[in-house]
């Protein structure tokens, strides 16, 4: 199935990726080719097959609900691109 630059724009928007015109064209061609090669999967009969979930039979991993030491906001803010007091600071969200 061919993938158009319009498809690429739609997916890039979902993925929050700005792409250059050059990237859009390249991805349309490459993703089209990759998806095309993946279409052989449709020939596999999977009617009676449950989707895979986990390699080992681990179910409902629980732990006690107890207080544990955390890193704290000062430590966590050390890597912040921008901050104010104990908050992450971001550009304006709407008008």
């Amino acid at each position: 199935m061919a993938i158009t630059t319009k498809d690429v724009e739609h997916v890039a928007k979902l993925a929050r990726l700005a792409l250059s015109d050059d990237e859009k064209e390249r991805f349309a061609e490459q993703l089209g080719r990759i998806i095309e090669s993946f279409n052989e999967l449709s020939s596999v009969d999977t009617d009676q097959i449950e989707p895979f979930t986990h390699a080992l039979p681990l179910l409902n991993v629980m732990r006690e609900d107890e207080l544990r030491p955390l890193l704290g906001s000062e430590t966590l803010l050390q890597g912040a691109p921008d901050k104010e007091g104990s908050f992450f600071r971001v550009p304006k969200i709407g008008d």
Binding site: I3, D7, V8, V11, A12, L14, A15, R16, L17, A18, L19, E23, F27, Q30, L31, R33, I34, I35, S37, F38, E40, L41, S42, V44, T46, I49, E50, P51, F52, T53, H54, A55, L56, L58, V61, R63, L71, T75, L76, Q78, G79, A80, P81, D82, F88, V90, P91, K92, I93, G94
Partner: protein, 492 residues
């Protein structure tokens, strides 16, 4: 003195420590000097942690002075893939997105290996966010194969493999999502193992594909891989996907005889698409196993031809969700000069991610998007179940499976970068183990074109890592391949 400390195994170095022929500090210094001498040529490291290495080595020397017994990894130089957190040191994932990021916490594996006495000498280069098979997708540098610097070291853990193969580390850590430990081990002529999914904690590993990612190690001998797995394996309450039962001892069980072991040779992974030199070496290895008393049976697993599309649909879907966290808000890169939050997301991600990461995020987002989910992602998970069932079926009659690790020896730098599909094909033999969650190891089994190393892959049933290691060890004892070191070590 210092030169003779290179190219050693764990037990050789610990012997030297016990006899006081050298201190842990001297061992660390010799390896740091060797990095200085070779790094320009090999480019294996993103960060050299000399201060940490010397501090850890001194702690070991202090313990020796107090006559305390050696720990399993006392004084052993360890290199860590740069997608595994080391408290207070950069963890870049070889991405512009995390170029200036230092985690405020320690990964469980680096914590356990340090507690066992290891000397951490640096963080190694990788394909950005572990996406690739050649380490050429790093945003910072291209790592070279120690056997021939015109060739790639493999990937994505290429920096770790190149480091251990060039003698700048004795053991190193990698992560294996579709072969990212085993394929570079094969290309660099060393041992690399992906243990059973869930047996080594992933707490502190930057997630790429959570249903496939597994931490494992490289070394120049099977025993050193087993010792490392003994130290870092086992349940971790900080990783909810970690296996919660006790693991057996691996190093202590290595010498168990393999006579009568039933090994399957997968027809589909020894025929078309596998280079002649690789096939010849693997078939010779089969003869070695026969001589060791193993029973070899040729088997067919036709559904493995679907492994590649299944893998790329699942890992890209996983990646597109895992990498959504890189939004420029809490850590990592943030684009400058943006008007509002939404444009900050778009521009931050455009600037921070390289081409292969963008390609995979796009592919994964597409596979998960409305209207395509059932046809691609869900279909892939169903076929994944079929592949897993096929392995279960084979392991009813067989103890292990044997394949080449890679269809070819190390390819030339730049030869596959323009064609993502041909790059993806280099993982054809390693991907199935990740899909099924089973353990796999690559060990050196010969030399091919241009005298480059060839790797043999052994796969076992889930949680039978001990049997995989025993068979690898038996082969190593019967052959000399692991004793051959790259010139960059022997001529140091």
């Amino acid at each position: 003195m210092s030169k003779s400390l290179l190219g050693k195994t764990i037990s050789e170095l610990q012997n030297i420590l016990e006899k006081k022929e050298a201190s842990a500090t001297e061992i660390a210094q010799a390896h740091l000097k060797h990095i200085e001498d070779t790094e320009k040529k090999i480019a294996a490291f993103n960060t050299i942690t000399a201060d940490l290495a010397l501090k850890q080595a001194k702690a070991t020397d202090d313990k020796i002075a107090k006559k305390e017994p050696l720990l399993p990894l006392s004084g052993i130089p360890l290199a860590v893939k740069d997608n595994i957190c080391l408290d207070g040191y950069p963890t870049t994932c070889s991405s512009k997105m995390l170029e200036n990021f230092s985690p405020p916490y320690q990964a469980t594996v680096t914590q356990r290996l340090s507690a066992a006495g290891a000397t951490i000498i640096g963080k190694t280069n990788l394909d950005e966010f572990a996406m690739g098979s050649s380490t050429e997708n790093s945003a910072f540098k291209i790592t070279r194969n120690p056997w021939n610097t015109e060739r790639v070291p493999g990937g994505s853990s290429g920096g770790s493999a190149a480091s251990t193969a060039s003698g700048t580390s004795v053991i190193s850590l990698g992560s294996d999502t579709g072969g990212s430990i085993r394929q570079p081990a094969s290309f660099c002529g060393i041992v690399g193992m992906k243990p059973t999914y869930g047996t080594v904690s992933r707490f502190g590993l930057v997630a790429f594909s959570s249903s496939l990612d597994q931490i494992g190690s490289f070394a120049r001998s099977v025993k050193d891989v087993a010792i490392t797995l003994d130290v870092m394996g086992g349940h971790d309450p900080l990783d909810a996907t970690s296996y919660n039962q006790k693991l057996p001892g691996f190093a202590s069980e290595l010498e168990k005889p393999i006579k009568g072991l039933r090994i399957g040779l997968i027809k589909e992974l020894i025929g078309v698409g596998i280079d002649d030199d690789v096939r010849d070496a693997v078939l010779k290895a089969v003869e070695t196993y026969k001589a060791l008393g193993a029973q070899i049976k040729e088997i067919s697993m036709p559904n493995l031809r679907h492994a590649l599309p299944v893998y790329y649909l699942i890992c890209t879907a996983d990646a597109s969700t895992n990498l959504a966290r890189f939004d420029g808000v809490r850590y990592g890169h943030r684009a400058a000069g943006v008007e509002d939050l939404l444009s900050m997301y778009f521009k931050t991600r455009q600037e921070g991610f390289g081409p292969e990461v963008k390609r995979r995020i796009m592919l994964g987002t597409y596979a998960l998007s409305s209207g395509y989910y059932d046809a691609y992602y869900k279909k892939a998970q169903k076929v994944r179940r079929i592949i897993k069932n096929d392995f279960d079926e084979q392991f009813k009659e067989l103890d292990l499976l044997l394949t080449p690790t890679s269809p070819s020896v190390a390819f030339a730098v730049g030869s596959k970068t323009e064609d993502p599909l041909s790059m993806y094909l280099s993982d054809i033999a390693t991907i199935p183990a990740n899909l099924a969650g089973i353990p796999g190891i690559s060990i050196p089994c010969g030399r091919g074109k241009d005298n480059l190393p060839i790797g043999l892959q052994l796969l076992g049933p889930a949680l039978k890592d001990a049997v995989v290691l025993q068979a690898a060890y038996a082969f190593e004892q019967a052959t000399e391949f692991h004793k051959q070191l790259a010139e960059v070590v022997t001529h140091a």
